[in-house]
Amino acid sequence: MPNVKVVGVSKSFGKIKALEGINLEINDGEYVVLLGPSGCGKTTLLKIIAGMWEPTAGKVYIDGMDVTDLPPEDRNIGFVFQNYALFPHLNVFDNTIYGPMVRGKDPEESGKNAREMLHLVRLAARHEAFPVELSGGMQQRLAVARALTTGSSLLFLDEPLSALDAKIGAELRSEMRKMIKDLKLTAIHVTHNQEEAMEVADRIVVMRRGRVEQVGSPEEIYRNPANLFVAHFLGDANFIEAAATDYGTYCKLKLLNWKMKIPKVKPGAYVAVVRPEKVEVGDGGAEGVVKNFRFLGGVSYVEVEIGNESVISRFPSRREYELGEKVCVCFKPEDVKLFKYPDEGLKEALRVD
């Protein structure tokens, strides 16, 4: 049963450091998503674990065995490529049976496995079709089937849904997760789409600039982001400049044109992170004017300008706001997550690239 351990893995391309000292443990049967903006090193890390690239430093263990020097064909893995890399000269069935065939498995049994797998991904009827004749969704399912027919229980998925229409992608990702869970596989999935990550992952690894920023369950990461970048990259958030002053047993936080009582913290400059769904528009709190209002069906957004900052509130649609309307916004102290004001500036701390 496969578990994966990455110890101190670094990778440089010339002078560019793609990965710096990555440590990661993935348990057997776990669905882990490597999430981050493009260029953060997540695909590099995936390809190093799969054996396609060699790390500049560090070790990779699969199932307790040091595989750092093993080529991909000797790691017993399944890999789903971003653009699927379905062999264009082989039909659906031959693509599926390719793995067992080159591993020298018994042809009869491999054929049976391949047919079962194609059945599972609803492609049995198209077993004679060539990849170009399949729709995007079918190609994606074939890519998964091909990777799984090898019999490996460690599956790598490199942006497996990014080439699909949003709607088909959203449908397929729940189907894919169910299948992977049913087959009790260990999966490592790379994506830049936080919604996709939240939906499929048991655990998310948030990466930025070749480093791991936070590891945790989707809920943990959303509720307790380790830093400003993670808060920014996963879900929407308001970032409000704040100053805390000590009042003996408690502190007062000055933000916007408002002051709120909070538990004791070290006095100084902070950034207050508040999720839009925690911001209430009503009578008390900070006063401002409505700058923007958007109705999106079930929910609505209102953006309120206060001084030179603005705060966004998301709420179940019940009323509309006029531009320029005077309103107040407030939120509870327990919904405020405080981060020390970053030395490099707020903008730099949030930068995605």
């Binding site: 080529p71 017993n76 890999f79 490529f81 379905l86 000269h89 793995g99 080159v102």
Partner: protein, 511 residues
């Protein structure tokens, strides 16, 4: 109104332009080549094949030609694939150097190259081979190798490396991945490369003559035999053999083009343990191919530089020949640039749906043995009693034509059509789009094609010998020197031409 304006300012001149391009090709390049088929008949005017005959001598020559061409292709492929692989897949500096090394024999006229290779293997060099069949093979492998490697590396480069990776993650060793995935995916490129090398070998005269024997020429291959007939006044035999060569090469071309699209190389069985152990041998295929490149191609090709000696008596002749060679090559390149780019547009854009026809015809010109082509053109233009220098230029225009059309057509086909649409959308007129967008983007392939056409013209022996009586290009001069046992002069002429070509190529590249 919209449509009407387009018709007057765009469609009509366009039609006129392409008509000129097509007429140029049909009347000045293609028809003269077919003239020999008409001429081959006693009652000239009708095409009648019974007048073609085949003597035992011709059969022997054809047999030699085909077995040499076949073995040349096999050797080229075996030793060409690894080098082509490195050139296509490595992104390091090594790639640049390798590209340069592989191309080096191309700047050497084949007669000089053949002379050099024959010197290397023969009694004046390491003395391993006597003149004859095996020597011809060694010579042919040397001058066709760059063609194979160039075509193969281009074909391999087009196969997405991800397929190989996918195969590896599914459990295939590198060797299995190459055989079952990459090879089938570039097989049409492989076939085209093989065809190109095959027809170049089948067509070559100058280099063959160098490997056959000095003093007297015993005809070893079909083109050499054709020249021998022609020079001894047996025009009927020369014509017969030429027509057979033209027919065979055209049929081969048609067959390969058909095969390239129809059949796949079967994957067949996979032998995982066998291929795995083969893979584990750690036999360095790259090093092997590299050693082949150095020892079989490069060193023999340039071995003649050792024999350079300066004889002031021949200096005037040599300079005169270099002048003629460059004049003809320049004329051929310029004329073909003017009309060839038009043809490339016609093929690349498939205008009026005639693209595939003209692509095939252009290919047919390329695979045609140049001796047959020269013989036919010589006869055709002689009807009009034209100046020999003009006829020579026309011959060179004909056989170098495809070398400009093909790469340019390919790059026009690969051009992202959206770029042109974007320019139109920004308000550029079609001609402005061509000048500011299309032309700059296809410029590299135009330059490559021009260099190739120029070098082919500079290097050609057979076609020139088939027409010229008074004018000697450098390759002809070299053949004559070798014939007269003037090795030092032959080497000197080769080296001088090499220097001049090198400088010319360098200046062109720098532009």
């Amino acid at each position: 109104m919209e449509g009407e304006r387009k018709l007057t300012s765009g469609k009509l001149p366009e039609l006129a332009f392409y008509s000129i391009v097509i007429l140029f090709f049909l009347l000045l390049v293609f028809a003269p080549i077919l003239y020999i088929v008409v001429k081959g008949c006693p009652n000239s005017g009708a095409v009648c094949f019974p007048s073609i005959y085949l003597t035992q001598e011709m059969k022997d020559a054809l047999f030699n030609s085909f077995s040499i061409a076949f073995m040349t292709v096999i050797l080229d492929i075996i030793f060409g694939i690894p080098i082509a692989w490195v050139i296509a897949r490595y992104k390091t500096k090594l790639k640049v150097y390798l590209n340069f090394l592989v191309d080096m024999p191309l700047i050497m006229p084949t007669a000089a190259l053949g002379f050099s290779v024959a010197l290397f293997w023969g009694g004046d060099g390491i003395g391993l081979l006597g003149k004859g069949f095996w020597m011809i093979l060694a010579v042919h492998v040397a001058f066709t190798y760059p063609y194979i490697v160039r075509t193969l590396s281009a074909a391999i480069e087009e196969v997405d490396i991800t397929y190989e990776m996918a195969s590896r993650t599914l459990g295939a060793t590198p060797l299995t991945a190459f055989r079952t995935i990459t090879l089938p995916l570039f097989q049409s490129g492989l076939l085209i490369a093989a065809l190109l090398a095959f027809t170049r070998s089948l067509s070559e005269t100058g280099a063959t003559m160098m490997a056959v024997g000095t003093g007297q020429f015993f005809a070893a291959t079909a083109p050499a035999q054709t020249l021998l007939y022609k020079n001894s006044g047996d025009i009927a035999s020369a014509v017969s053999l030429s027509i057979i060569l033209i027919a065979i090469s055209t049929i081969l071309l048609a067959l390969v083009r058909y095969l390239a699209n129809k059949f796949g190389i079967p994957i067949g069985k996979v032998y995982p343990s066998f291929e795995r152990s083969l893979n584990n041998l750690k036999l360095d295929k790259n090093a092997l191919a590299f050693a082949f490149l150095i020892s079989i191609i490069l060193i023999p090709s340039f071995y003649l530089l050792k024999f350079v000696s300066y004889a002031p008596g021949e200096f005037g002749d040599i300079m005169n020949s270099i002048g003629i060679s460059f004049l003809i090559a320049l004329a051929a390149t310029v004329v073909n640039l003017i009309f060839g780019i038009g043809m490339a547009l016609l093929i690349g854009r498939n205008k009026y749906g005639v693209g595939p026809i003209f692509e095939f015809l252009t290919d047919a010109v390329m695979v045609m043995p140049t001796v047959a082509l020269g013989l036919s053109l010589g006869m055709f233009w002689n009807i009009f009693k034209l100046n020999e220098l003009f006829i020579l230029a026309m011959v060179h225009i004909s056989f170098s034509y495809p070398y400009i059309v093909k790469p340019v057509a390919a790059s026009i086909r690969d051009l992202d059509k959206n770029l042109e649409d974007a320019a139109r959308g920004l308000g550029a007129k079609p001609l402005v789009v061509f000048r500011t967008i299309t032309l700059p983007l296809i410029m590299p392939s135009i330059l490559a094609g021009a260099v190739m056409a120029f070098m082919r013209s500079l290097s050609e022996t057979g076609a020139t010998m088939a027409v010229s009586t008074t004018f000697k290009t450098v390759p002809v001069l070299i053949v004559n020197f070798v014939k007269a046992n003037q090795y030092g002069d032959a080497a000197f002429a080769s080296a001088l031409l090499l220097c001049v070509s090198f400088v010319a190529a360098y200046l062109l590249r720098r532009k």
